[in-house]
Every structure is written in C-alpha cells, then in structure tokens.
Amino acid sequence: MKRRDFLRTSVGGSLAAGAALKMGGLEKLFAGTSLSAKYDLVAVMGGNPDAMFDLGIQELGGMGAFVKKGQKVLIKPNIGWDVIPDLAANTNPLLVKRVIEHCFKAGAKEVYVFDHTCDNWVNCYKNSGIEKIAKSAGAKVVPGNSESYYHEIEIPGGIKLQKTKVHQLLLETDVFINIPVLKDHNSTRMTCCLKNTMGVVWDRGYWHSNDLNQCIADYALYEKKPSLNIIDCYNVMVKHGPQGVSKEDIVSMKSQILTSDWVAGDAAAARMLGVPVEKIEYIPIAHKMGLGNMNLDSQNIKRIKM
C-alpha cells in the first residue's frame, strides 16, 4: 500500500502546486517550467530508483506540477547502448517505469519514450529493459533510428549550433522530461542532463566535429527545454564511460537528483562523480549563457536520505 500512498500524496501535492501556480501567473504555467517555490533541487539517497523518485517528486510538488491533464509527455531516458541494466550505461528501467506511472497519474494523455541510440537500436531498446517496462506502464515506445523522424529546428543565439534536426516527438509533445543516467564520459568527462539531449538530435557527428562542448551548451538554448530533469545516480559508471566495459566500471551510489535547472543538475552530478565542474566545459559555458545556475551553494537544495 505504500506505493499507492505515495501516489495519492503526489496527486494531492500536484493539485496544491497547480493552484499555487495559477495564483503565481499563467504565462509561466504555459511555458511549462515548474515553479516549485520551495526547492531548486531535490536530491535523494538510499532507496531504490522508483522509491527515491516517489519521494523526490513529492518534494517538488508532485508530477502534477509538471504534467497537466490531457498533455502529451515525452520522456527521454538514455537508451544509447546495447547492454543489460546492471551495467548502467542506460537509464534504470525501474525509474523510467515509475516516471511514466506518475505522468499518467497526473492525467497525461500519452507518454512517449525514445532515444537515438548509438548501438543497434532494436538491441538497445530490448536489452536495456526499457522498451518492455515502458510499454507495460502504458507508454508508447517510438523508434529514433531513421532520419525521417527528425525535423530541422533553429537555435537562435547558438554560437556553433544554429540549427539541427530533432525528433518529431520533441515538437509534437507538450512536456519534455529528461531522465539521464549519470556516467563518466571519455571526452567531455561527464554525461548527464545537457549531454543527454544528443539523443534527441539526428546528426551527432556535427556536434563532435564542431566544438562538442559549445554545441552541447548551444542546444540548451532551444526553446523546448525539459520541465524536469531526473538524474539516475543509482548505479554510476565512474570510468570507461559512456559505454563501459564491465561491472568494475560501476559504483553503487543509490542516489537521484531532481531539478528543473539542468545546469544545476549537471553541477550536482559532477560532484557525485568527483569531477570539478570547470573540467566539464559545457557546464560553465551553459552557465555563462544564462541557461542555468551551476553554483550550488546559492541554491535551495532539499537533501533526503532514505
């Protein structure tokens, strides 16, 4: 019954948050950005991915603060690699499942899941465990393997990346929820919130050959930003990322970070990984471009230990 209780509370919380939002101002509600007045960032530690999410989202006012009745939701986990869930190269399937469930509880009309994978997409969807679990939770799992699914968009103000092709789902849905898994990255040092967006675009090669760090930050300018970032730090790949070679690359951290500010989320994730934020170049760049706040000290952070 515990799970149901959680859901009930979150629905209740979302109603309250919704009311608060209405009083706060309609424009911001429609902009899709959350206005959880209490916290900039919620971090949970010590539970299973789904239980941690239940707690974390409650602190942010429940999923109803992000998803309104009848809206279409895009959930973007990392499904980039053809490996089993234990190797943590992809987002934890339990977390994906619970996020989908919360979306439907909040009244979502449809929930979509996809990734532009690096390995063979059929194998990635299957072996990550995400396709099966997302479908069982009622989401639509959509392919991202063909250029025909991608449409060109413009990024005004981008320094290196002014236009790129993004998956049609990003354009057709009302709410974008980003669920990266925190991992070491061979080149950018870390992959998390901002870098996870490389999975919604078609031509990643362009990013790689045109100042990867700047492109990652530039993309964050695009108007369709995630309302919520849920960082999966349950099992964290601390080396040989982003693909990993064996279980020795994984450290169990049993944590989760929830925030609407993806720059703050990445900054917190960098601390988890033990990498100085300045070393992960796209974070300071994005910070300077005004895309978020990487200074965690000035932020209102809720820390929960289970």
Partner: protein, 519 residues
C-alpha cells in the same frame, strides 16, 4: 497415383519452400532464428557440398540426400527444393498468362555441348582455383542475391511507407528502416542474371536450368540412372502431343515415346495433362525398396560439429592482400587489407569458400556487411566485406557466422566472437578533430566496446584518442562514429588472418559508494 495428385503435391510443396526462402531473405527485422534458416538451406546442393568440403566431414551432407533423392526420383530437387527453379516456374506461369505462345513448349534438342562444358569448366575451376564459377552459377546463391539486392529493398520501402502512415496515427509497431544501397557496380552481375533467367523462364520454361545450371546438369547425369521416372505407355498413347507442349524442359519427344530424363525436372505437368493416362511416373525396369536417410540425426551431428569448430577457430593461411585505393587524399586511410566478417579465419580460405550468396549481408542487423566490388579483387566480387563507413559490427551479435551455408564463415560463440580480432584500429592524428580544431570530440572512444580506443591527455583540458591494438577487435564502431571528413581519423585495417584479441583488463575504481551528498 492419380494423375493430378503428383502435380498438386509438387505445387503445394514447392510453394511452401519458396515462401520460406522469400521470408528468410526479406526478413529485415531479423525475426527468423538462425536454426530455421540453417534447416531450410541444409538441402541446398552447392552450399551443402562446399560446407562438407570445408568442414572436411560429411556431417553437413544435405547434398548426399539430394544425390540419393535424384538417384531414386530423378531431378525432383529442381522442382521441389531449388528456390531459383521454383521461382522460374512461377515466372513461366506469368509468361503463359501474358502470351499463349509462351506456354507451348514442345520438344527441343538439348544444348549438350554448352551444358556439359559449363559443368566441366565449373568443376575444373572449382577444383583448381576456387569457388568463382559457383559464385556465378550456384542457383541458390543467384536466388538469394535477387532477393537481397532487388526484392528486400522494395519490401523495406513498402514497410517504410506503411510505417509512415501508421506513425501518423501514433502507432509505432512498424519502424522506418533506412535503405542503404550497395555500390552500383555490384548490381551488374545479379542484374544480368536476372534478365537472362527472367527472360528465359518467361518464354522458354526451364531452359536456363537445362543449359547453364551446373547443378541441373550434374543431377541430370544422375537421373539418367534414376529409379523413378516419366515413361510412356505406348499402347495407350494417341500421340496428341499435349505432354510435349506442356513440358517446361522441352524434353518429351512424343513421336519417339522418349523422355530425356537428364532434362526432366519432375514437374509432372505431362502426367497431369495426358488425357489417356499414357504417360506416367513410376519405377523403371526393376523393383527396389526406397530407403530414407535419417535427417534429424544428421542435423544434430552437423550442429554439434559446427559448435565444436566455432569455439576456437583461428585459421591459418596467407591471404592475397588487395588494398583499396581512396579517391582523394589529405591523410589517406591506408588500408592494407579489407576487413572480412568474423568467423572467416584467413582471407585466402574465406575467399575460396564463399559463393557470395549474400545471406550474411541479408541477415546482418547493422547493415555493415556489404558486397565487395574490388576489395578482394575481381574474383571476390559480391563477397561480403565490412564497410565501416556504412555501419559497424554489433558487439553482441554472431548472426552472420551462424547462417553461412558454405561454412566460409565458421560459427562463433558470442564469447569467442567478442575476442576475435578481425582488424586493428589505426589512429591518424593529423585528421583528428581534437588536433585540427582544438576542440573536444572522442566519438571513437565513446563507441569502442573494449576501450581499446581510449582518450589520453592532450593540450590543456583536451584529451585525444589512443589505441591499444591487442585488445581491439576491429568492430569498426570507432571508424563509423568518427566525424572527420572526407577521411576518417581512425580506421580499421583488416587482419589477413583473424587472431584472438586480448581481454580488456579492468581494475576497480577509487570512487566509493557515497554516504553523504557531496553538495
């Protein structure tokens, strides 16, 4: 047996066989498991013959069954089991619908010199040089290529069209599959054969089988002594000539009550069409019990030997190396040897054993296998080659090694395949984005499944790739991912002989499970 039953059995059976072959060869989602594919192809004459020869055992001896079958029943193989033969029958039927003339065959003299010299040349070339003639003339391979080169892309386009429509209704059961064409030149041979065989079968029945096909000619020789065959009851014959008119092989000389059994493919059209029951299919001269071979047992033996071989196949033999020249050059990828699929062992053996049937190209889920044009030289045209500009070899996949009908690719267990080094990644620093642009990249190392390709400190905060060759397996994911253009900054140079790669070493990290939030 009643006169039309034989023909009906033939039509039903061959239709089933044909459908199975088509399904296997257009299965763009790789749904059909390898064991069914192997079972289907087990009885294909040339692949089975080559497989037995390559394995130095008769365990893969579907061809023995075919020989025996032919000795007993005549060339039933050509009508019941050969997909190219069945396909031609289908085409003849279409031809007959188009023009009446096309369905009136009548007796014709055999092209004795052409067919036996082609058989002879094929035999000699195969024994002395290699499989090159079989590559061109093996009916199964010809059929498989038709499907892979021409039919499958059409099916995929159809799928994409449907996927597009369904997608509009928010249904994603079908997905769009990018169609990747082959180099134009490799289409030439299948296209030529398509026109030849298509044209002949449309208008002249089984003329291709009785003029060019070495399998047809060989089985024809055996059927000259077959036990069952088409024969005349001279007393009942009214010499109406219907049988001869309906004979796709043009081998019934009804005036002489003679059937050229070497050309008869046992289609039973004549038996069906004869109103006087004067032409029958039955035993000749003497009576003898028909005995069946134990198919299941053979398959088990074949399978277990395949597995045994698969565990540690590292073939010997020196390969003839044909470098592939690049059109332009800044820093050219200097490939000294093409990369051939895992399980191929040595390039010389591989080139000698592959008949380019394209089944591996067909089943590859990543589309990394492409028909070669000149990578292996002219003799190796259409044989599969790894094209890392098109795609890469999936780490967790052994599909191509499982289904090779001629054993040119030996079956590999997944763990063995993951340690089979088919080539080595070579890094060209001067092409690398990190050096030329002074910005981060690392696409190659990101893609590397063994981290043979990893990043080492470069200028400032930058890191640059480095390759540890002995743990590289040559999967080509690095080359595929490399964004440098037009020349890649990292490429895989093929191993002329596949060797075992070292296991990646991995040590535990210093980072420990946190007890407090670090922020």
């Amino acid at each position: 047996m009643s006169s039309s039953l034989l023909r009906r059995i033939r039509i039903v059976f061959s239709t089933l066989v044909f459908i199975c072959f088509v399904l296997v060869l257009v299965d763009f989602k790789s749904i059909i498991p390898s064991k069914y594919i192997n079972a289907l192809i087990y009885l294909q004459f040339i692949p089975s013959l080559l497989k037995s020869y390559d394995m130095k055992t008769l365990a893969a001896g579907g061809f023995i069954f075919v020989l025996l079958l032919t000795f007993i029943t005549g060339r039933t193989y050509c009508s019941f089991l050969c997909p190219l033969g069945i396909g031609q029958d289908l085409n003849s039927r279409i031809g007959g619908r188009i023009k009446k003339k096309f369905r009136r065959y009548g007796f014709k003299k055999p092209f004795t010199i052409i067919r036996y010299s082609l058989l002879g040349i094929t035999l000699v070339v195969t024994l002395v040089w290699g499989v090159y003639m079989l590559t061109l003339l093996d009916p199964y391979s010809i059929f498989a290529r038709f499907m892979t080169y021409f039919v499958k892309p059409v099916i995929i386009l159809l799928n994409n069209f449907l996927a597009g429509i369904l997608g509009r209704f928010d249904i994603y059961t079908l997905s769009n599959i990018p169609v990747k064409g082959f180099p134009l030149i490799v289409y030439s041979i299948p296209a030529a054969f398509f026109l030849l065989i298509g044209g002949l079968s449309l208008t002249k029945g089984r003329l291709y089988c009785n003029m060019f096909c070495p399998v047809g000619t060989l089985l024809g020789l055996i059927s000259k002594i077959s036990l069952f065959r088409i024969k005349f009851k001279e007393a009942d014959c009214t010499r109406c000539g219907r049988c001869s008119m309906r004979c796709k092989s043009s081998c019934i000389d009804f005036l002489k009550y003679d059937v050229d059994v070497s050309r008869c493919v046992s289609c039973f059209n004549c038996v069906h069409t004869c109103q006087d029951k004067a032409i029958t299919y039955g035993i000749v001269n003497f009576k003898k019990k028909v005995h069946e071979t134990d198919e299941g047992r053979r398959k088990v033996i074949a399978g277990s030997i395949l597995l045994l071989f698969g565990i540690s196949r590292v073939s010997s033999g020196q390969g003839k190396i044909v470098p592939k020249p690049k059109k332009q050059s800044t820093v050219k990828e200097n490939r000294t040897c093409p990369v051939f699929p895992p399980g191929g062992g040595g390039i010389a053996d591989f080139n000698k054993e592959c008949v380019a049937c394209s089944l591996c190209i067909n089943v590859c889920p990543n589309g990394v296998l492409q028909p070669a044009y000149m990578q292996y030289g002219i003799a190796g045209i259409m044989q599969p080659v790894m094209d890392y500009h098109k795609s890469f070899c999936t780490y967790n996949c052994t599909k191509c090694t499982e289904i090779c009908p001629t054993f040119a690719l030996h079956p590999l267990l997944l763990e063995a395949k993951k340690l089979t080094q088919i080539g080595k990644a070579k890094f060209i620093k001067d092409n690398c984005i990190v050096k030329t642009e002074k910005t981060a990249c690392g696409a190659c190392s990101e893609a590397c499944p063994t981290k043979a390709c990893h990043m080492i400190p470069y200028e400032g905060n930058l890191v640059i790739p480095e390759v540890t060759e002995d743990i590289c397996i040559g999967c080509g994911h690095c080359e595929f991912a490399c964004p440098a253009s037009p020349y890649k900054a990292i490429f895989v140079d093929g191993n002329p002989v596949h060797v075992a790669a070292k296991k990646p070493v991995n040590v535990e990290s210093d980072i420990k499970t946190p007890v407090e939030f670090p922020f």
